[in-house]
């Protein structure tokens, strides 16, 4: 086994470029998945408000069925194939985006189907008394959601959402398959140009551990503070 520090030194500028792209994809992908996941979760709660919790079965399957099926479909199929779908099919339909944009949208869409379940768990964890109090104060449904339910629900799910940020980080290398030059993309390019595979691949592997492990420790601390 040979290890060449010279190759590591040559790779580092490319590494920083790749890291920047990875972090961009991570930040934008997370934002989309958080926002879209909340939309899915609220659509899944569509029965007649404000009794959404008490009779959440059997009402308005009109909205919930399609949303449930679509999100389960997205959740159970590989992100890679979804990426290919968006990357190759959208241009055929006359929509052309950059590879990074396509990738960010795909990641956001894919993970929104996960975050929606986190939100749902958070909403279901809000005590029934809160709903009853909102009803007793005759708050309109919009106020009930924005002022009573969501603030409590979201506070509970922040650590779980953070988990998905780490999960998204670990899925960003997939973007390489649609020519995005993220960390893995840069490493592959460098390896193919210099015929040195060991160093760049090991450097980014270590970088991922170095980013995700402290992040998970941070989340654990956050969870202790927020969830009581």
């Amino acid at each position: 086994m040979t290890w060449d520090w010279g190759a590591v030194r040559d790779f580092m500028p490319h590494f920083w470029d790749g890291l920047l792209v990875t972090l961009q994809a991570l930040a934008l992908g997370s934002l989309i998945s958080f926002a879209l996941g909340l939309v899915w979760a609220l659509l899944m709660q569509t029965p007649g408000l404000p009794h959404a919790r008490t009779n959440s079965r059997g009402w308005y399957p009109l909205v919930r069925w399609p949303v449930g099926i679509v999100t389960e479909f997205i959740r159970d199929t590989p992100l890679l194939v979804q990426l290919f779908f968006l990357f190759y099919v959208l241009p055929e339909w006359g929509l052309t985006f950059s590879a990074l944009t396509t990738g960010v949208v795909a990641i956001g869409l894919h993970y929104s189907t996960y975050t929606m379940q986190v939100y749902r768990a958070g909403i279901e964890a809000v005590p029934t008394g809160q709903w009853e109090a909102a009803t007793a104060l005759s708050l309109p449904p919009t106020r009930t959601w924005t002022a009573v339910i969501l603030p409590q629900a979201i506070r509970r799910v922040v650590p779980a959402l953070g988990n998905y940020v780490i999960a998204i980080l670990k899925d960003t290398p997939v973007l390489m398959a649609i020519t995005v030059l993220d960390m893995l993309g840069e490493a592959r390019l460098f390896s193919q140009q210099h015929f040195q595979f060991t160093e760049p691949l090991t450097v980014i592997g270590v970088a991922f551990v170095l980013i995700s492990y402290p992040a998970s420790l941070l989340l654990r601390a956050l969870e202790r503070r927020l969830v009581r």
Partner: protein, 232 residues
């Protein structure tokens, strides 16, 4: 689509299923060994198992696959057949996630059960085999079911290395037909059907195991654990 192209897709399905089964077997073995090691009484064993899970959960599956395909042959002189290389990368990564499931389930067994085993003079291995595992395994099934679906999705990643799995055959058909919407829709549907069948099978298995451990299966709403997540 012509029948020749369908044949291509079917051989892709076969490769994906092979990878899924082999990867799942390796991942199960790894997760039980590492998960039990994390409850071992010697700290050095716990520490080693902890390092393993953190390293393999910390990196991305795709990077692991690249590493096994490109670095392993250079570094150690082992050139693996693509199928085995894919199995190894997937099994080791998903095994690390599975180890956390096993550890969590073992820890959630009532400590009194274990103490009862000690009082009856069971050896540690007997306690594990006769008391802890029969109660812990049914609890693991829903999480393992999620992990299995994640593994199925993970198998698509080997197509990046040129292995002829389902995702790869989709690319070939796209190149042949110069038309992508139809084939990718089919590919996604096939993945979905496989995942659907897997979840149904795992649910049956859970009922059987729970009945054997003397517990009625409770109806539960499952929030999938963030499989790529960093928290245990």
């Amino acid at each position: 689509m012509t029948s020749g192209l369908w044949h291509l897709v079917l051989s892709g399905v076969w490769t994906t299923l092979q990878l899924l089964v082999l990867g799942a077997l390796l991942a199960t073995a790894v997760s039980f060994i590492v998960g039990m090691a994390r409850t071992h009484r010697l700290w050095i064993v716990r520490f080693a198992a902890g390092v393993y899970t953190e390293v393999f959960r910390g990196t991305s599956t795709l990077i692991m696959i690249f590493w096994v395909f490109f670095v392993l042959p250079l570094a150690f002189g082992w050139q693996l057949v693509p199928m085995w290389a894919g199995t190894l990368a997937l099994g080791l990564t998903y095994g690390a996630y599975g180890a956390e499931i096993v550890r969590g389930a073992l820890n959630s067994v009532d400590p009194a059960q274990c103490e009862g085993g000690i009082a009856l003079g069971f050896t540690p291995w007997q306690r594990m085999r006769k008391i802890l595992l029969p109660q812990a395994v049914p609890e693991m099934i829903p999480s393992f079911c999620n992990l299995l679906v994640e593994l199925l999705k993970g198998t698509a990643l080997v197509s990046v290395m040129g292995m002829g799995d389902l995702a790869f055959s989709g690319n070939l058909v796209r190149l042949a037909l110069q038309e992508s919407a139809e084939i990718y829709a089919y590919i996604l549907l096939i993945y979905f059907v496989i995942a659907f069948l897997l979840t149904r099978m795992m649910r049956l298995l859970e009922h059987r195991l729970k009945a054997r451990a003397g517990k009625t299966p409770r109806p539960h709403v499952l929030v999938p654990e963030p499989v790529g997540g960093g928290l245990s």
